[in-house]
C-alpha cells in the first residue's frame, strides 16, 4: 500500500504537499515572531499585517514591567527549576538504574515495578494532597517544593531509560575494569558512563522539556508571582493590566518560552525522538 502511494503520488505532488504542510506547521511560529517584534501601532492594525513594518524590541522591553513584574526574573526561575530538576533526575535515575540493573539488591524488582506503576497514575490526580503535603513541610509556594515535585514526576521514566541503558552494558566490561583495580564507583564513572551517555542525554532531555513546559502543577503549587515559572507568568501577561491585553508582549513571552525548546530540539533531535519513542513503547 505504501509503495502504491509512492507510485501513485508523483514526486512533484509529494514535494508540493510537504512544502504546503511545512508552511502550515511553521506559520504559527512566524506569527509569534512577527507579533513579538511589531511596534505598538503595528500590533493593533486591523486587519493584521504579515510582518512588522518597523521591527522593534519594545514588546520584550515591556516584559520587564508587567503588573510590576520583571518577566526575565521569571525566566530565571524557569531556568533554575528546569536545570536543577533535570540534573537531579538524571543523577538519581542513573544511580538507581545502576543499582537495579547491576547489583540486583533485594527489592530492586519492587522498586522498578512501583516506579513503572506510577506511570499509570496521572499526577493531576494527586496534586491536591501534594499541595497539602508541601504546605505541611513549609514548602508550598516555593521553587524548591516545585523542583522536588518535578523530580518525582520525571524520575520513573528516567529510571526506566537508565536501568535499560546500564543493563545493556556487557558485564565483562565492568568486571575487566574492576580487575584492573578500579573501585566500583570509578568503574561506573570511567567505563560505564560513557557507554550509557545516550541514555543520560535522553533522560535529561525528557526531564528538561517536561519541567520547562509544565503548567498545571506550577499554577497550583506556586502562588507568588515573583516565583512563577514562565508558562504561568504568561497567564499574568494575558490577563492584561488596566483592563487591556498587551498581545505583543504576550507573544514576546511565548517566544521566550518556545525558542529554547526549539533550539534544544534542533540540536539534540535524535535523542528527543528516541526518548519520545521509548516513552510511548515503555
Amino acid at each position: 500500500m505504501i509503495s502504491d502511494i509512492r507510485r501513485s503520488l508523483p514526486r512533484g505532488a509529494w514535494w508540493v504537499l510537504n512544502l504546503a504542510l511545512t508552511v502550515l506547521f511553521l506559520s504559527p511560529l512566524v506569527v509569534m515572531l512577527s507579533m513579538a517584534f511589531k511596534s505598538k501601532g503595528d500590533q493593533g492594525h486591523i486587519p493584521p499585517t504579515l510582518l512588522p513594518a518597523h521591527p522593534t524590541l519594545a514588546s520584550f522591553r515591556r516584559l520587564t514591567s508587567v503588573q510590576g513584574l520583571n518577566i526575565f526574573h521569571n525566566l530565571l526561575n524557569s531556568v533554575m527549576v528546569s536545570l536543577s530538576a533535570t540534573l537531579l533526575v538524571v543523577l538519581f535515575a542513573s544511580m538507581a538504574g545502576y543499582g537495579i540493573a547491576r547489583t540486583k539488591f533485594p527489592g530492586a524488582g519492587a522498586v522498578f515495578f512501583i516506579a513503572l506503576a506510577s506511570f499509570m497514575i496521572p499526577f493531576q490526580a494527586i496534586l491536591t494532597p501534594l499541595y497539602m503535603l508541601l504546605k505541611t513541610m513549609g514548602l508550598n509556594n516555593s521553587l524548591v517544593g516545585l523542583t522536588l515535585v518535578y523530580i518525582t514526576f520525571n524520575l520513573p521514566f528516567a529510571l526506566f531509560i537508565m536501568r535499560n541503558a546500564f543493563a545493556s552494558v556487557p558485564t565483562t566490561l565492568e568486571e575487566a575494569a574492576r580487575v584492573d583495580g578500579c573501585g566500583t564507583i570509578r568503574a561506573i564513572v570511567q567505563i560505564m558512563l560513557p557507554i550509557v551517555k545516550p541514555g543520560l542525554i535522553t533522560a535529561g532531555l525528557m526531564a528538561f522539556f517536561s519541567t520547562w513546559n509544565e503548567f498545571f502543577a506550577a499554577l497550583i503549587l506556586v502562588t507568588s508571582q515573583e516565583k512563577f515559572t514562565l508558562p504561568v507568568t504568561l497567564t499574568m501577561v494575558a490577563s492584561g493590566s488596566f483592563g487591556q491585553i498587551d498581545w505583543g508582549s504576550l507573544q514576546a513571552g511565548v517566544a521566550l518560552t518556545i525558542i529554547p525548546c526549539i533550539v534544544v530540539y534542533l540540536l539534540l533531535q535524535r535523542y528527543y525522538v528516541s526518548g519520545m519513542l521509548s516513552g510511548a513503547l515503555k
Binding site: G68, T223, S224, G240, Q244
Partner: protein, 428 residues
C-alpha cells in the same frame, strides 16, 4: 463549613503554629520590641493584591519614613489571593496586615483569619465618615474585622463625541433603561463598526460591579441582606437581564462582549467603537490618556433611581500577628487624612465621605460621579461571594451569559438561583 466551629479551630491552628514558628526569624512574622513611651515599634509585613501595586509601594514608603514601625510590602496576584492568604494564615505564616478586596472580608472574618479590631475602629474620630458599603463588609456578627481602605464605584461612562454624532445631547445622559437602549440604538446606527453599549459577558467580577446596580436601583437584590438566601430568580433580575438581552438582539453590542473576560471594555471605549459602558474609577486614567471627550453618569434603575457597587479594598490585621500594636498602627494610619488624601490624588478613591467631597470629587466630572456612587454604594454580603459572583465559571456569570446571549432567561435564572443557593447552603 460551620463558621463558628471553624473559626475557633482556625484561630487555634493559627496560634498553635504561630507559637511553633515564634522561635524562628520567619520572614513574614512581625516582631515587636518594647518602647518606653508606648509608641509601637518593630516590623510588620503587609500584603496587597497586584492591582494596588502602584500606589501601595509609595504608601508604605510614606509610612516607614514617618513611623518607628517599619512595614514591608508583598504583592500577591489577585487570581490567587484568597488561596494564598488562606493557606498562609492556616499555616501561621501569614502577614501582619493585609489589604484585601472587600468582597472577601466576610469569608476571612468568618473563618477566623482576621483579628477583631472593633476597638481600633471605635477609636477613630472619623469613623462616621466611612462609606457604608465598606463598613458593612467589614462587619461580622456585630464585630469589626477590617477598616475601609481604598474605594471605587461603578458608573456609566459615555462618549460625548459619539452622542453628538448620533444626534443625542451629550449633556443629557440616559436616566432609565429605555433611554440607554434607545441611545445605544442611535449610536449603533452610526455604522462603521460602532456600537452603543458593551459589557464583559464572561467576567463574574465585572458584572457584580457593573450589573447589580441596575437591579438595586430598581428595588431588587441578588442576595438577602444576611447573605443566606440567593434572590437571583427575582423579577427585578429578570427585567435587568431582559434589558441586556434586548440590547444584544438590537445589535447594539459588539460580538466581543460575549467572550469578554474583562479586558475588552476599555479598548473598545477608548478607540471610539462603543458609546456607553459601565466601569469604575480605575478606567479613568486610560480614558484620559486616550484624550477622550467623555463623561460619567450614575447607573440607573429600570424607570429611574440610581445605584452603585462600592468596590475597593479593606485593610485588615491578620489573626496571630506578633506585632498587634504595629499592625493596628498601620491600618489606622492607612485610613487617616494624610494617607487618604494622598490616595485620592494618586488614583484611588478615598473611603471617607469628607475626603471624597473635599478632595476627590474636585478632580473632575467622572471623579465626582464615582464619589457620589461610592457614598451610597452597596456590596452583596456573602461568605461565598467569590464562588457565586467573582468566579468566572460561577452561577452568576453563567446566568447573565446564558440570558443575554441565548435568551432563555427563565431557565438561566432558575439554574443560577439553585446553584447559588447550593453554594450558600454548603458553606453553612
Amino acid at each position: 463549613m460551620i463558621p463558628r466551629t471553624i473559626r475557633v479551630v482556625a484561630v487555634a491552628t493559627t496560634f498553635g503554629l504561630g507559637l511553633l514558628a515564634a522561635g524562628c526569624s520567619s520572614n513574614s512574622g512581625g516582631s515587636q520590641s518594647a518602647s518606653g513611651n508606648g509608641t509601637p515599634t518593630g516590623t510588620i509585613t503587609v500584603w496587597a493584591r497586584d492591582a494596588e501595586k502602584d500606589f501601595m509601594g509609595n504608601l508604605v514608603k510614606q509610612y516607614n519614613s514617618s513611623h518607628q514601625v517599619q512595614a514591608q510590602l508583598t504583592i500577591i496576584p489577585s487570581a490567587n489571593f484568597v488561596q494564598k492568604l488562606g493557606t498562609a494564615a492556616a499555616a501561621g505564616n501569614g502577614p501582619d496586615v493585609s489589604s484585601l478586596d472587600l468582597v472577601f472580608a466576610p469569608y476571612f472574618a468568618s473563618t477566623g483569619v482576621l483579628e477583631d479590631i472593633t476597638s481600633t475602629y471605635d477609636s477613630l474620630s472619623y469613623k462616621d465618615q466611612f462609606v457604608p458599603g465598606h463598613v458593612a463588609q467589614s462587619t461580622w456578627q456585630g464585630k469589626i474585622y477590617a477598616l475601609p481602605f481604598t474605594g471605587d464605584a461603578s458608573v456609566l461612562f459615555y462618549n460625548k463625541d459619539l452622542f453628538k454624532k448620533a444626534g443625542l445631547d451629550p449633556n443629557k445622559p440616559p436616566t432609565t433603561w429605555a433611554e440607554i437602549r434607545s441611545d445605544a440604538k442611535k449610536i449603533t446606527a452610526l455604522g462603521k463598526g460602532t456600537y452603543g453599549f458593551t459589557f464583559a459577558g464572561a467576567c463574574g467580577g465585572c458584572n457584580v460591579f457593573e450589573f447589580t446596580p441596575y437591579i438595586w436601583a430598581s428595588g431588587g437584590s441578588v442576595l438577602s441582606d444576611d447573605g443566606k438566601k440567593a434572590t437571583l430568580d427575582s423579577s427585578q433580575v429578570t427585567d435587568a437581564l431582559q434589558f441586556y438581552r434586548d440590547m444584544w438582539t438590537d445589535g447594539s453590542m459588539p460580538s466581543a462582549a460575549e467572550t469578554d473576560s474583562g479586558n475588552q471594555q476599555i479598548p473598545l471605549f477608548t478607540t471610539g467603537k462603543v458609546g456607553m459602558t459601565a466601569l469604575g474609577a480605575f478606567a479613568i486614567p486610560s480614558f484620559d490618556a486616550a484624550k477622550m471627550n467623555y463623561a460619567a453618569t450614575p447607573l440607573p434603575g429600570k424607570d429611574g433611581g440610581t445605584a452603585s457597587f462600592a468596590g475597593g479594598d479593606v485593610i485588615t490585621v491578620i489573626n496571630g500577628t506578633k506585632n498587634p500594636a504595629g499592625a493596628a498602627d498601620f491600618v489606622k494610619w492607612a485610613t487617616d487624612t494624610q494617607a487618604q488624601t494622598w490616595l485620592a490624588k494618586n488614583g484611588s478613591a478615598p473611603i471617607r465621605k469628607d475626603l471624597l467631597e473635599s478632595v476627590y470629587a474636585k478632580q473632575g466630572q467622572p471623579y465626582a460621579e464615582v464619589a457620589k456612587g461610592l457614598e451610597v454604594g452597596k456590596v452583596p454580603f456573602s461568605v461565598v461571594e467569590n464562588a457565586i459572583f467573582n468566579d468566572n465559571n460561577g452561577p452568576w456569570v453563567k446566568m447573565i451569559h446564558d440570558s443575554v446571549f441565548t435568551g432563555n432567561i427563565q431557565a438561566a435564572q432558575s439554574t443560577g438561583q439553585q446553584a447559588a443557593q447550593k453554594l450558600i447552603d454548603q458553606a453553612s
